[in-house]
């Protein structure tokens, strides 16, 4: 008998399976299984580094903060409640590690964004232009308040819900919505020209 294609699983069910899988990985990591912790690190390295970079700006500092957060999470793994999703729990540690590091390090002056750059420019087709756009976005992000930066990255880049971001940042859900809205308004100006031509 030919195998029938499986119907697509509802998102909620997929999320539940992923949560069970992560709870299992955490249990194995707590028991000392190196590979299980390795899988968790691989799975969350990207988001952890991006969130840390949104806070710190500098990629080396961000990697150090993300690494510290991962190791701190390893130590605290036994405290993780397996009934809750792992991502927000870990990202709260990451956000705190990045914020602490930013407070500790000497304050770096953020150069104000060049008005000419924010007002548009050529469509970034080439690598150079794309690089310039990335730089402009990073500068624009650096001008936003820290919480706003994290909120928009977690929502638009990483796909977390407002509720999950509220858990990560320890703020009310309504505040998350407001932060995402204001961050987007600022960042979309940069992308306007690119979007309209693309």
């Amino acid at each position: 008998m030919a195998d029938l294609p499986l119907p697509p699983q509802p998102a909620r069910q997929v999320a539940r399976i992923a949560q069970q899988d992560e709870a299992d990985l955490v249990a194995r990591a707590v028991a000392g299984e190196r590979a299980a912790f390795g899988t968790l690190v691989e799975r969350y390295a990207g988001v952890a580094r991006r969130v840390a970079r949104a806070v710190l700006g500098n990629p080396e500092d961000a990697d150090d903060a993300a690494q510290d957060a991962m190791l701190s999470a390893l130590v605290k793994l036994e405290q993780y409640d397996a009934r809750r999703p792992f991502g927000p729990w870990l990202l709260r540690i990451v956000a705190n590690a990045a914020t602490d590091r930013r407070r500790r390090r000497s304050v770096r002056r953020v150069e104000p964004l060049d008005v000419g750059l924010t007002a548009g420019g050529a469509r970034p087709d080439t690598t150079t232009e794309r690089r310039a756009l990335n730089e402009r976005l990073r500068q624009a992000l650096a001008e936003l308040p820290e919480r706003r930066r994290m909120a928009v990255v977690l929502f638009d880049v990483e796909g977390y819900s407002h509720g999950e971001i509220a858990l990560i940042l320890g703020i009310p859900e309504g505040t998350v919505r407001s932060e995402v809205f204001h961050a987007r308004r600022r960042l979309r100006v940069l992308l306007a020209d690119w979007k309209e031509e693309g």
Binding site: R34, F155, L191, K195
Partner: protein, 113 residues
């Protein structure tokens, strides 16, 4: 470009993609390897710390046991004074515990003579 609707609950895919590219540092495998190496190092260091803690506790416990043993041995020795074996003269000079003993000794001496 229109302003976004306030509190739009859907992720902005274009902005998200652009931000992801702007924030992506690359070198994911290198980062993962570095974290795992640090985790191994931390684990080994924590075992060393545990063993060192156990060793310190072990030395302290051994000292306590040795002191306690010394105290009890000393106490027991002081409680039972050393028994001194009586010499022949002590036996002869000391008043007899049983009156008949001296007569027996004297009789045996006289008898031998």
């Amino acid at each position: 470009m229109k302003d976004p609707l306030p509190f739009d609950h859907r992720p902005d895919l274009v902005l998200g993609r652009a931000l992801r590219e702007a924030l992506d540092p690359g070198g994911a495998q290198l980062f993962t390897a570095r974290v795992l190496a640090r985790a191994e190092h931390a684990r080994a260091a924590s075992w060393d710390a545990v063993l060192a803690r156990w060793a310190r506790a072990g030395v302290a416990a051994a000292l306590v046991v040795a002191l306690a043993a010394g105290y009890f041995v000393g106490h027991a020795t002081a409680g039972s004074p050393t028994t001194v074996r009586p010499t022949v003269s002590d036996v002869l000079i000391a008043p007899p515990a049983h009156p008949g003993e001296v007569e027996v000794v004297l009789a045996s001496v006289i008898g031998n003579n």
